[in-house]
Each structure stands twice: as structure tokens, then as C-alpha cells.
Subunit: 215 residues, 4 copies
């Protein structure tokens, strides 16, 4: 069975350029020590998971993700281009995917969204996070097929998905090989649908439908 | 500081009357043993958390919740009544709250929503789950105030919230003392807003606005 | 060019079984005579348009429509079937379409939606109008192609589209020949997409995406 | 009874700086003459309504409007300020209102939204039209109270309402006296709610709820 991973897999090391809300959160917790549960956050290490701990918790809890479909808009707000990532998965196969990643402890959805957009598109993408926190779709990934349209071998993940206009220059980093800009018609095609990993062809179509450009 | 808990707190014992999807999920995993991560699910105990484990994981990960605002509709689909729970919290204070609870490993959002509606409203409430899986709002609960409108001393919880019409008889169980049916105007009032625990007055207003009856 | 009409075309004669809100509205206007503009409504005839007047106004104003995609739900709210109308258009060709019709003066969107559902599906369909008045999509029909995905030779129409669960027996009336129930997968197919009149294949896909069942 | 008008009332003269899509539309119609209904558009005058014609049609058809709540966002997409118009109505009273206006024949919703934003906020406001054409709410205005939360003495109007971030400088024109920027908390207050004309306090609250900042 092909791997259908949703992004980062190693031990959790917060990026320098992200997670600032989570950092502020831990600082506040350290100084306040308000409640018992919160007090443990005084130790910054406790909030991040080792590889082993993450593997363990993935067998016991649904993991919260955010996903983003980067788009270009014309002057009237119409989506003219859709950004799809090309990525080599763990077995070396090339698949298409979306911007995606985990929400960390103490991190707001917006901060997580921004952090993963920066991680996957580079620091000059200038994403315009939407004013509404309501996702266009919620994708439920299960490690076995048939429970939903989405599959992730590693875990049960629930992903809040957003369409995010970007106005700058995208320069994919980390494990993303390339960002491909497509017309909405091309992104609506069966060919692209079939190449998306983990069932994200369905999520991509829902994104296109939500902004009125599904072919 | 008053407790602002989001529901169940003891060790996780799946209800007889719920979690059937999760049970089927574990069974399937046991018989297939497909991937390493999934294989551990063969042991049903591994998927549920002890009190200690739950407390531990709550300091390390955002926990996924669903919440529901039960409503009565007239024949044209207009919301005529809104159901609010009265509950005694751990310190004996009476607060108002919504139907709410955790999504378990291997459980779909719909199954979790149905299970918590049954737990809080009884087996004869006959909730009509909405065809769309997109929530009207996403509430982010943090253990410290100021990061969002929502507060939960015990954890960082992210809650997908739905308006759910119920057509049967509600008979609150467990720790809920009573279900109060209110008109949308009464539910919109500052008095009710102030009595809702954990900032759910804001969530209730968003629910009313989403169905066009916020006063 | 094939006709792509959005439903009724003759002089406006309110149905016996509908438009009750509009009727009440005219009655109220007749007895109150509050403002000048409203006073003219005292004459019930003034609120309805002759064929000539309707043709005239269609060249001068966008006309407001509602559309509905009837669906069957399972016990968990998941869409299991989608209802598509088969209709002979003015030139005798058979096309597929959705429940659709004009909003009349003084009529609420809910009343219009209910009236057209009853007109197209019969009085025993028992549609469950959604609690939220926000459509899943807004379709803009223009008499010339290229301005949007939707085409209506007769007029500029703006249509608010809803997914509506029906629980009863559907018995299409008037010019609808038949209601076909399809699985979401079948309704997602290119074949059905191509058979829908006026571009409604796109609207149907947006409907399926909005309830999480687009293939 | 106080006037509760939704904007422009004189004869329809398309602005120099707007309605370009409608103009292109009329031009196309003139040169193609495709269908009978469309052919009449060859005469540009036929598409616009005189004062008398507009008054007449307002007694016979619901009129389609768009409305906008201008907002300022911070770098993470959170709404930090909400723009409310101060306007003198026909009787000289000062009321608060939203950006609002009619959709013209042949005009897309986006073009109408952009035209009215420019009309009410000036040419340097730089509104960022949302990628999704789905409104956060649909407001139904009737000339008599009680049918909905919204009132417009002159007509039955159905208004599609959007939250629109603006990034430039706002310089209200025409009959708007002033644009007031408020915090979301201030905009949520009962005082502002009571000052909004035609029931738009309810629409404003729905806007704030849709972007997660209703107090």
C-alpha cells in the first residue's frame, strides 16, 4: 500500500520562524501557573512530543490538522490559479498534495495555518489568511480505507481545510519538490484528482466548488 | 477561578449505546493488521485512555471536540426553540452549557456528534444530523484566557460546532440536570450569554446567527 | 442554441397550494396601506405580472430564483441519494434539471423554496427546509455564455441554491416527467454533468461537495 | 415611520467608474442579437430604468441587492476594525448603515459589490473581494414589519451580504457622511445595533459572528 502521509514525521522541533503564539503561550503558562493542568506547561519540553510519544499518541487520539489550498486571485476576487505541491513520499514516489500540518499544543488554528504555509511555500508567499475561521471542508483521515474519502496510514487525523490567497513569491521548502500553479479547469480534471495523495483530490474539488470555480 | 470543563472527565469507557463505528474500526484493525501503526489497534484497550494517560496527553496535544446546539424547527425550517443544558460543575455551581464531548480514536465526527447528543439528551431525542459536515463555527478553547473567546482550564480543545434539529423527547442524562428550551430571542439575551460556561455564550450567538435568528 | 429555461414561463398565476405568505402579505398591505409604495399592493392583481410584463421586466432586471437539490439521508445525516428531474424543454428535448423557480413579490425565500419543491415533487415529498437561510452556492444565469458557468436564454437570473432532504414520496407534477434518484457517485459523473441544462452540472457538483459526497 | 431606505433612489445612471461588465454585456448583446429576449438589450437605454419604471417594478418583484461590511484585518486575517457608514436619510435623520446597492441587469454580483464599495468608500479603498461568492447571510427586506428582521419601506429587497476586507483609504462619497471604524466589541454593542437602519444591526452581528469576532 502506498504511503499517504500528511506531512512532517520526525520529532517535533518548532520552526524558528513559526509557532510564536505557542511560545508565548508556554511563557505565559510558566509565569502564571494558574491551574494544575496548565502548570505543567511551565516546562517547555513537556509540550512537544518525541518521535516515540507522537507515534504512541497517534494510536490513541485523532490528531488535529490544518490544510490549505493556495490560490491566486484576480482584481475582482476570482480564483485564477490553484497551487498544488509535488512531493516525494517516503517510498520515493512522486505525488501531489496540499499544504498541510499538525496543530500544536497552545497554537491557534491561524498560527498553525500560517506556520505550515510558510514551511511549504517559503517566507515570501504572503498568504492572506481568511477572516472567517470556518473551514470550507473538514477532512477525516483514517488509517484504513472505506470509513471516509480520506486515507492516512499513520493515523486518524481530522483536518480543517481553507482556501488561502497568496500574493507573493512561492519557494517551496523542506520535502516539497515544487509548487505547480494550475488553472481551476486543470485542477478540476480527473488526472489531477487521481494524482493527489490520501484522497485529497476530493478535498481539492470541494475547495474549487467553495469558491465557485469547479469545472 | 470557576471550572469551565467541557464535559466528561473520568477514565474513558465507551458507552454501550455509542461508539459503534469506533468498535467496528477496532475490529477491522484487529483482523487486517495492515500497517504497523494500525496493528496496535488490535488490542481494544490501547485505543482508550486511562485517566492518567488522558491527563498527560491533554498537556501535549490539542484535543478534538464536537459541540451541538439542539433546536426545534417549525414546518418551514425556521428555528423556534433552542435547547440549553443546565449542569452542576465540579464545584457545585450551576452553569449553562451545550452538548459537547470528545471525538475518540477511529470515530467519525458524525458518530461522535450522535453519541454525545444521545448521552446528553437521551435515546429518544431523535437528532437530525445535518447533511453538511462543515461546522457553523470552530471554537478554540485554551487553558488560559485571552488567546480566544473560549476557556477550558483542563486543556487546549478545538471544537467543531453544529446546530442540530431534534424531533423527539429530550431526557438529559448523566451530569446534566436539565435541558431548557428557550426562544431564539431569550437565547440571544445578555443574561443567558453571561451564564454560559467557558465562553459558550459567544458560540451560542454564532449558532443563532448562522440560522438567521440572532436577536 | 438549445433552450435552457429555468422553469415556468406563462403568465403568473399563483398556485392554490402555495404563495400563502405572499397572499397574507397582500392582505396585510390592503388593510394597512402604510406607505405609498406598499399601498398599491392593496390590489392583488398589481403584484403579479402578465406574460408581457414579465417578458419586459426580464430585459431590465436580474430575476431572483431559488433552486433545490432534493436528497435522501441515512440515519446519521449522510446523503445517500440525490434527486434529479427529467424534463422536456420547449423544443421537446429531454434534459436534466433541478427544482427551481422564481421568488415572487412579498414571498419569503423559504416560502418560495417550499412552493417550488411542492410544485416539482408533489405534496407528499415532505421537504425538510434547512435551518440556515445561507445557500450552498449562488448561481448567476446570463442570457449569453461566458459571463459565468450558467446560461438562461430568457433572462439574467440569480439563484440561491439549497440542498433539501426529503422524507416522503415524490410525485413530480407539471412539466417534470420524472424524478430520478441517483447515488452521489452517479450524480458526480461526467455523463450526468453533461446532461444538466443551463450549466447546472456545476451547481450539482457544488451541492455534492457542500455535503461532503462529491466523488 | 422613519425612512429605512437601502441606498440610491433616483433614476438609474450608471457610474462612470463602475458597471463596466454591464456595459460590455450590453455591447455584446447589441452585436450578437442572439435571442429575442437578449436582442432588446441592443438599445442601451432599455436596460436601465427611469424613476417611474423603477418605482413600478418595485411593487411587482423582489429586487436583488448586495451589501458589504468593510473590515480591516491584522496580519493573521483577524478582523480588527469594522466600517459603519453614517448617513442622513431622506428626512434628515442620521442613521448608521452598511455599504449597499442594487444589482443591475447584466451585472455580476462581484461587479455590483465592487461598484457599490467604490461608490460608498471612494476609489482608494482597495476592497479585497472574497474568493467565495457565497454570502455570510441573506437579508430579506419587506416594506412591512414582522415578516423578517429587515425592513425597507420602498420595496421587497433580497440582499446578499459579504464581509469585505479593505486595505486602502476610505473616502465616503455621495450621500454617506462618514465612515466610522469601530472595534468588533463596539460594533457588537446594543447601542450600535439600535442605530442601524432597516434592521441591519442584526445583519452586522451576523457578519461579526461569521468572522468569529462577535462579542
Amino acid at each position: 500500500m502506498a504511503s499517504t502521509g500528511t506531512g512532517e514525521d520526525g520529532p517535533e522541533v518548532p520552526d524558528d520562524d513559526g509557532a510564536s503564539a505557542a511560545a508565548a503561550f508556554r511563557e505565559f503558562m510558566a509565569s502564571s501557573g494558574a491551574s494544575d493542568a496548565a502548570a505543567s506547561l511551565a516546562d517547555p519540553n513537556s509540550a512537544w512530543l518525541s518521535s516515540e510519544d507522537l507515534a504512541d499518541v497517534r494510536r490513541r487520539l485523532p490528531i488535529l490538522y490544518v490544510e490549505a489550498v493556495p490560490v491566486r486571485l484576480d482584481g475582482m476576487g476570482v480564483v485564477t490559479q490553484v497551487g498544488i505541491l509535488l512531493r516525494a513520499n517516503e517510498r520515493g514516489a512522486i505525488t501531489r498534495t496540499l499544504v498541510s500540518g499538525r496543530v500544536m499544543f497552545g497554537e491557534t488554528l491561524r498560527d498553525a495555518l500560517f506556520r505550515h504555509l510558510e514551511k511549504d511555500l517559503g517566507p515570501m508567499a504572503f498568504p492572506q489568511l481568511p477572516p472567517s475561521p470556518v473551514p470550507f471542508s473538514v477532512a477525516e483521515y483514517f488509517p484504513i480505507p472505506g470509513l471516509s474519502a480520506y486515507l492516512d496510514e499513520r493515523q486518524h487525523a481530522v483536518s480543517l481545510a481553507y482556501v488561502v490567497p497568496v500574493t507573493g513569491t512561492c519557494d517551496p521548502r523542506q520535502d516539497a519538490l515544487e509548487l505547480t500553479w494550475m488553472s481551476p479547469a486543470e485542477a478540476s480534471s480527473p488526472a489531477v484528482h487521481a494524482e493527489m495523495e490520501g484522497g485529497r483530490g476530493t478535498l481539492l474539488r470541494a475547495a474549487l466548488a467553495s469558491v465557485g470555480v469547479l469545472g
